[in-house]
């Protein structure tokens, strides 16, 4: 059985408030943002003055002036996770990385991050955008245990604000830049045991959410919103039907895309707010890092026997879930 031994995160430091977005005068206002997506602040690797003056009209420039790259954030998150687990990079036997907005495609993020960490393990990118936490865990569960190394470092990192067109009234409100890392072991017991997982996709809808390699993020907002709520509810219900979940004790973590959507999910499943861990309100949609970062922030609260349901959806369209239990 796999265990998650520890986690780490790195978030960008510049805070973009709803007032800042309102003052860009692109047809949005703080009230609309709060009502529609429930995000009050988001974090960015871009300077506010740059956004104000250029609206990030050319994402190529964004890379050059950003305070951190996806690689930088991935490294920092990994270092935090390693420190938490109490191991060094050279003890890691495999590094897998997801990024829907990598710094560059040759070489891949996993190799670059592993190199910066001083890790000589096999390293490759495993990419599915936002449901990466579920994909990575599900992928590792596929392995024969003897084929996995003692420690596997998983990272999801993206600086999506660098791909936002801040002339768009809604896109600018969504994203936050962050990385999350989690260390998994098939042999060592950790704080969280992985009881179950799944991942799948519907590639016929792959055009619904896109990030152009050298351009902007675009999405069919309504279609994605409907899909996200519906699919997240399905994922939770599937675990409810198979396992003795008790929402007075157990916890739900969803994809950190939109607080309003998450509220619809928790209302549907009657999950109390106290048992809903989330961070989108003040960090924005951190892509594949969001759900993992939410768990990381509550790491010390996980109680023995407590179930943690992670249900995540995203581009592809793809979706997956993980059932964890405190050890």
């Amino acid at each position: 059985m796999l265990h998650i031994l520890g986690m780490g995160t790195c978030h960008a430091e510049t805070v973009i408030t709803n007032k800042f977005l309102e003052d860009l005068d692109v047809g949005t206002n703080a009230q609309w943002i709060e009502e529609k997506i429930g995000i009050l602040e988001r974090v960015s690797t871009l300077p506010l003055e740059y956004i104000r003056t250029t609206r990030n009209g050319d994402p190529r420039v964004a890379r050059e002036i950003a305070s951190m790259s996806a690689t930088d954030m991935g490294v920092k998150a990994a270092q935090a996770a390693l420190e938490r687990v109490g191991i060094t990079a050279d003890q890691v036997g495999m590094v897998i990385v997801n990024s829907c907005a990598p710094l560059c495609t040759v070489p891949g993020e996993a190799v670059r991050i592993a190199e910066r960490l001083g890790c000589t393990a096999v390293a490759f990118d495993v990419v599915t955008a936002c449901p990466a936490f579920a994909l990575h865990i599900d992928l590792l569960r596929n392995y024969r245990p003897e084929r996995l190394p003692e420690f596997v470092l998983c990272i999801s990192t993206a600086a999506l604000t660098q791909h936002v067109n801040y002339n768009d009234r809604s896109d600018g409100a969504i994203w936050g830049d962050a990385a999350a890392a989690w260390i998994v072991s098939p042999v060592h017991r950790g704080k969280l045991a992985v009881l179950d997982s799944n991942f799948t996709a519907d590639p016929t809808r792959c055009g619904a959410v896109v990030v152009d390699t050298f351009g902007f993020f675009k999405q069919d907002g309504r279609a994605v919103r409907d899909f996200s709520v519906r699919q997240t509810v399905r994922l939770i219900k599937a675990f409810e039907e198979q396992y003795p979940l008790d929402w007075s004790r157990d916890v739900f973590i969803g994809h950190q895309a939109n607080r309003t959507m998450l509220q619809q999910v928790t209302n549907n499943r009657e999950i109390p707010e106290s048992n809903h861990w989330h961070n989108v309100t003040y960090l924005g949609n951190q892509a594949g890092a969001g759900s993992a970062a939410s768990l990381c922030a509550h790491w010390d609260e996980v109680a023995p026997g407590q179930h943690v349901v992670v249900a995540v959806v995203g581009a592809g369209l793809s979706w997956g879930s993980i059932l964890l239990q405190g050890v």
Binding site: V106, N142, S318
Partner: protein
Amino acid sequence: MAGGELYILGAGAALAEQVLSDAQLAELGLALTPQEQQLRARAGVQARRTSLPLEYLTGSRNRDILEGRARALASPTTLGVQAAQQALLRAGISIEQVGLIVGDTSTPYQTCPAEGHRIGGALGVKVAAYDVVAGPAGLGVHLDMLASWQPERLPEYVLCVSTHTPTQQIHFDSGAQGGSGALAGYLLGDAAAALVVSARQAGPLRLEWLRQRREGGAARGAFSAPRQIQCVEEHFLSAAGVQQLVTAELLTIRQGYVQPLVDPFLIGPQLYAGHLRQCAQQLGFAPERVVVAVQDTGYAFGASAGCGLAGLWDTVQPGQSVVWIEGGDGAWCSGVISRR
């Protein structure tokens, strides 16, 4: 690779249509230095395929790679779909029977979603899909991963696709003029390769043994692509380095796979395939058994080795072995495939 059976039921390749000749590159004023000539000879590239219209390429030098993409005759996705369709045809199955698509590209039009999603979407299927990207080791890493899974966790059929259109990210001008430099133009080509694999259905090829490793120290990628592709010449292996690496990988293979290699083919690192053919006998292979998939297509990163395997599909005889050694960017996969 301990235990775990994996069969390759079909292999497909797709090449960009336009042939970009040395003469056309010379007309652009792109001339190789003596050192670059050696690197090109070491690769064995004599011509290359491009998905850019030739008139556009020679007229604009693809100065604006976004314009190149807009004008391109094929995308990584369309080439990947073509390769996949050939692999499926050879496997004798339909795409609806595939339970997982694993993609790989170093030249995506979009970094989100994954290339596997785009290929699945183009093929019209609702199936688990994602990318596993490992540079030139690409398809080898896919095979190593799938061979390491619990058989009951593998779908009956998995489609693996590696597709790259590097010429679309080349500015065909000298470095002094802000271009990618001559070497990139002479070496790189656009292609895709695909494999249909199964742990439950036997196929013509069987993966006998495979190992993935990573080099320590700096990532020694021969290419860099934050946007426009550049060659990192100091990371290219010397002739002696190629021989040393392949010899070491062969030794590892022989230590892990003790069955006889029967009249083996060698699909070695395609960036150095020309040199491998020249030193074939020293490596223990007949020269005609060394696959130089890049000769007329150019180097297409992780797709080239797969194109080589697809090219052997009707050639490999029952009982014959194919030695696979491919990698770069610090990751290497080495193994043995045999024809049943």
